[in-house]
Structure formats: C-alpha cells, structure tokens
Symmetry: C2
Subunit: 386 residues, 2 copies
C-alpha cells in the first residue's frame, strides 16, 4: 500500500465534476444555457418526471452520511467522513458508471437529517446512505423510503448483507449444508448485524441466534431496546438464554460484525464440523485469521484484503445502483437484493479459498447490475419515470 496521506494529498480529491458539453460557440451557450435552457425548465415544470430526461438526474445519486459511524472509527463527524464518501463516489463511477455526489451532512439529529435529505432528493435518482449509526439508521432509511419517490439504500445494512449472503451461500455449497438447516450465530446487533439477520431469514435461514455484548438477544430481557426486541422475536423463538460462548456451541456458521477480539480458539472448536467463520469486525476482527488457522475453522472470510475471501461491500453497491437506475425502479426490493447476492455468488466457481469474486473484476458488477435490472422488471417494481 502507498502512503495514504501522501496519496490523498497528491491526487487533490478523488472525484471531479466535469462538463459533458463542449462549450465552444455562442450557439452552444444559447442551446445549453440562456436562452435555450428555459425550454427544458418549462417542460420539467409541466411534468417533473422530465427531470430524468433533460438533466443528469438520470444517472446521478447522492452518497450521504452524517459521519456518525464511519468505518470502524465511530462518530468522527461530517467533515472527517468526507474521504470515505468521496472514495465511494470514485468506486460508483469506476465500477458501474454511476455518477455519485458525496455529501456529508453536518447534523446528527434524525429529523433534521430526514428533512435535509428530502429537500435535496429532487436532484437525484437514488440515495446511498452511508456510515450512519444504529438504531438511527433504521428510522432514517425507512422514513425516507416512505416519503421519497426515489430508492434509498443504506449500504452498511443491505450491502453488507448481500455480500455476506453471497459468500455464505457459496460456502454452504462447499460443505454441502443447506441454509434452512444450519445453526447461525451473528455477533453484533447494529446496522450490519440486523440487516444480515433479516436477509438470512428472507433467504430461508431457520436457526439464527443474535448476540450483542450482553449475550444472546432474548425477548424476555426487559433491558432490550425496540430494535433488539424485534430481532430477538424473529430469531430466538425458544428464548435461549446465554452468552456468545453458549450460542456458538454446535453452531455451523459464525458471523461477526461487532468489535474485535471476542472469540477464542476454544469457541471455534466447540462448533459443528467444517464450520464457516466470518469474523468481519473492522479494523480488528473478532478472532485473527492466524488464530483461526490453528482451529477446526473450515472456511474463513473476513473484511480484510490481506486474506482470501474478502467480504467486501464493493461487490454489491455499484451494480445494485446501476441495475436500479437502468430499470427506473422506485425502490430497491428484497428480491432485487437477493438477486444481487446470487449474481455475486454465481460469478465464480467457488473453492474454500475463493468463495467470493474479486471486487476488481468488472464482470461481477455487470452481473449484479443485470440481475437487479431483470428482477426489477420481472417484479414490476413501480418506476420513478418511464
């Protein structure tokens, strides 16, 4: 890796706003600026959907954060989150030709965020929310998806879930187990943990236990907040009480999306045969890959590019938005997300050291975009415009 500070300083910003018009003559000015520009304005005034025809809105999304839960760094605020948002825009354009404007919003008041994003929404064909802390992120995404006429997608939730399930479905094929049968432990009940749980339930999982730092979520526990109560209700039907160590015993799959260093080699060895281990905590995983190599862990995937099987959101978000924009879908449905997951999984012939494709492979992004597009069309998802 180059020195990131030097590299960021030298590049002078990772994105740039360029003109698609060569403005060279009075005629160009008259056509694309005054007086000609009045004509598309008036057409849009008559029919607001024409904004997709006459402006870049057709290919433009916003990457929006409040800086409250940035990477593994936590609540570092709007300004400090900018390099991440800019990086995301860089990747949207590079991988899927989606124009993405990074916007760090300098308030962490939920209602103010919702209002600000609503006021901005007419400029965009979609919104990618990013690095917003749980449980606020749930309300923000849900409310915006209800209010707005464009799709809103919180990548830390759904992007992570989509890629995780792509990896898991390939891993399950390799160990010849079925999603319906396996016991899954999810450690971490924030944005990612919640979204992964919901996604795996939708994909057919029947035996999930979710743990937070107090242990297994259980709806008899009166200290749980509303989001955690719902999670407990959906997963822990038998009201199992215990700690992470108890949940992991005899389980088939461990998914870690919490804080680092919680899982021991003994806990891994207490799992069932050929366990699948995804310690994705960032920057420090729940158990190091080096430690896992000394256990019976059979398939290992992490959030890091240093090891095989990087479970990287980058596999999903560019293609998801490409397919969504191309289909003019007003929402990104569960079915569209599931099709993205399967498209990622089926982009390779899996082996235990490659359960998931390389995010730099352009074919993956094309496959995801096509799958999302086709699902939106087949499912007749309502459209932003014709």
């Amino acid at each position: 890796m180059q020195n990131p500070l030097k590299a960021h300083e030298m590049i002078k910003g990772k994105i740039e706003v360029v003109s698609r018009v060569k403005v060279e003559s009075k005629d160009d000015l008259s056509t694309y600026y005054t007086p000609g520009v009045a004509e598309p304005c008036l057409e849009i005034e008559k029919d607001s959907k024409k904004s997709y025809l006459y402006t870049r809105r057709q290919n433009m999304i916003a990457v929006i954060t409040d800086g409250s839960a940035v990477l593994g760094l936590g609540n570092i605020g709007a300004e400090a989150s900018m390099p991440v948002m800019e990086g995301k825009s860089m990747l949207f354009k590079t991988m899927a030709d989606v124009d993405a404007i990074p916007l760090s919003i300098d308030t962490q008041d939920t209602n103010e965020l919702i209002r600000t994003i609503t006021y901005l929404s007419k400029n965009f064909a979609g919104i990618n929310l990013e690095d917003i802390s749980a449980p606020r992120c749930f309300e923000i995404e849900k409310t915006l998806n209800e209010i707005l006429d464009i799709p809103v997608f919180h990548d830390d939730q759904h992007g992570t879930a989509i890629v995780l399930y792509a990896a898991l479905s390939n891993a399950l094929k390799l160990v010849d187990k079925k999603i319906e049968d396996v016991k899954i432990v999810i450690n971490g009940a924030g944005a990612a943990g919640t979204a992964i749980t919901e996604f795996l339930l939708d994909a057919g999982a029947k035996h999930i236990l979710v743990c937070d730092k107090e242990g297994i979520l259980n709806e008899n526990d009166e200290t749980l907040n509303e989001a955690h109560l719902i999670l407990a209700h959906k997963t822990n039907r038998k009201h199992v009480v215990g700690k992470l160590v108890d949940a992991m015993k005899d389980s088939d799959v461990f998914i870690g999306v919490s804080k680092g260093h919680l899982v021991t080699k003994d806990m891994i060895n207490s799992m069932s045969d050929q366990p699948i281990i995804f310690p994705m905590a960032n920057p420090t995983p729940e158990i190091s890959v080096e430690d896992l190599y000394e256990t019976k862990a059979y398939i290992i995937g992490t959030g890091s590019s240093k090891y095989p099987n990087q479970i990287n959101n980058l596999l999903a978000f560019p293609g998801i938005f490409r397919g969504t924009l191309d289909s003019h879908a007003k929402k990104i449905t569960k079915e569209m997300m599931l099709s993205a997951s399967l498209a990622i999984a089926s982009s390779i012939i899996p082996s235990i050291y490659q359960i998931i494709p390389d995010a730099l492979d352009p074919l993956v992004h094309k496959n995801v975009a096509n799958a999302v597009y086709e699902t939106a069309i087949k499912q007749r998802v309502p459209k932003t415009h014709e």
Copy 2:
C-alpha cells in the same frame, strides 16, 4: 441555435462526476479506500482544515437555488430549475476549472434554506447562490456569510453588478463622462437592481435614482418595504418624487433590470447627450434594441447574445470563484468584486459596439481570476485554510 430540448435529451446531462483515481489494483483500493482512507479521515478529525488538503473540497463549490426566481421564468420550483443549475456547473468547469455541484433545494422557507445550506457547507469551499427571489435572497446571503466559514456569493446580485459596471465604466470612457458626475436611473429594485445600486455607489456614483413599478423610490413613501427604504435612503437624498419618465429626463445612464416594455423612445430622447442604455430585462427588454436604434441612444448593452454588448454574468462568476478558491479567501469582498469588474473592462479596448469582452474568450476568465486572487492577497482577506 440547435433545438434545446433535443440537445438536452441527447447530451444526457450537462455534467458528470468522474473519478480522478485509476482504480486498477488491490493496492489502489487499500490506498484510496479501505483501510487506507481511515488515515485522512483521522487527520481531518484532528484538524478540520485538512479537509481542503485530502478531499476535492479544495476545488469544489455548490450551485444552489430554491427555484424561486429562475431566469425570467419566475418561481418554477426546485426540479424545474435544475437545467439552469447544471448549465452553471458546466460553465464553472469549462471556463475556470471549478468543480460545481448543482443542488436545487426543495423548500422556499428562508430559515429552512439557511439551515439546509449550513448542514451542507462542509463539503464545499464556496457557495454560489442562484435564482433566489428578492428580498429573501438578501437575508439568505447575509446570514450564510455570517454563519459559514466559506464564501457565499449570490450571482444574480453581485455577478450582474460586476459585469454591469464593467460595461458602464468602458461606456463612460467612450463618452468621456465620469461615474461621479453622471445621472443614473436604475429601473427595478429586486436582487439585481439593489446589488447594482450598492455596487455603483461603492464605485463612486453620486447621482442615482432607483425606480420600481410605482416610480422613484423615496423614503417618505410609507408603503416601501425595508429593503426599498434603505435603497431610497442611500440614493434619493433630495426626496425626488416622480415616475420613471421623470427620473429619466436629463439622465445619462439607464439601467433596466425589471420587467419588459416600460421605456418609450420619447423617454430615451428626453435623456442627456450620448446616453448609455442598458435594458437588461429578460426575456423581454424594457425597450427593444430596434426601437433604440431610432432614438438618440448612443451606447446600448442588453442581456441578449443577439446584439452587440451582451452584459452576461458568465463574464464574472467563473473567474471570481477561481480567484477566490486559489486565494483561500473566506469572503468575497467588495474590493475583490470591484477588481473583477475592472479586469473585465480592461480585457478589451472598448468601442461603442464592444464595451465588454466576449464571454467565450478564455483570457477574460484568467484576468478576472488573477485580479480577484491578487486583491484577496493584498487585502489580507481571512482564509478558509493556509
């Protein structure tokens, strides 16, 4: 002119967000995205001014409107204003390599606009306000300039004033009159009329009468709003009472920034010798150029590209922001604006059919940028960052 609707449809948006990084290897991802991107984030968390070093903020402004006073079209709303904002971004980049993000904000509540722009301000090194109706635009610009650490510039006010004064100063040279001596009539007391009045007073004008549709602004008139009272106080010291026709008698300069068709040939002929006439109402000027050719009008400038002497904001705004960004100035001062005006004027050797340069001439924008930069440095304007 090409068909503007066809042209807008074909171009698929006049701007685009591109990546400045070639993302080709795992190393690129690690440097510019995770995990490397955490380093500039943490540096900015420690010192927010580092956002100018490690992100595109250093060259990025926002072009912001609420769609309340778009071109001559009036209050057409946020969505319908988008083609204009996008056009402005296209021109910022083409003429002065300024990255400009067009944002139409879907509220016309003054406080909500101020709040929304404040929440967004950390992404940008400057804000160009556009097409916001008077008198709201005054409060919005003033408040934002007080609150924010970046320059805020309402182009309909100051851009118009800067270019108008460039044209006027060259015209005065040609008729051998001085700004201190001439009688000036400004018809229209909205955003542009107010800003032009202030600008000409700052430039040394001593005899200005401002008219709105009721006639000459006069502070004895109890029906005037606060903005108009201030204007009347600053200009009409002798409490002259009358209509536009009275104001124009024996005057040397007519500046029209109102609604069309208010001025007759007789009114022009009632002016002093070699009168300078700038009917800039858009799209219909206060008196047509064809009619003016049948009067004693000596120098004529309009807002239209169909005639000589187009008084076009495009001459100012790109270079103003280029010079401001390069100097890191936190405000765009009166002195910086005046230097821009003089730079435009001195970019040509004036004749009565060319009192102002062609906005497509790249040299003008360089001259404006240099003049603004040098004035900011000489004046020691406080900086956004070192």
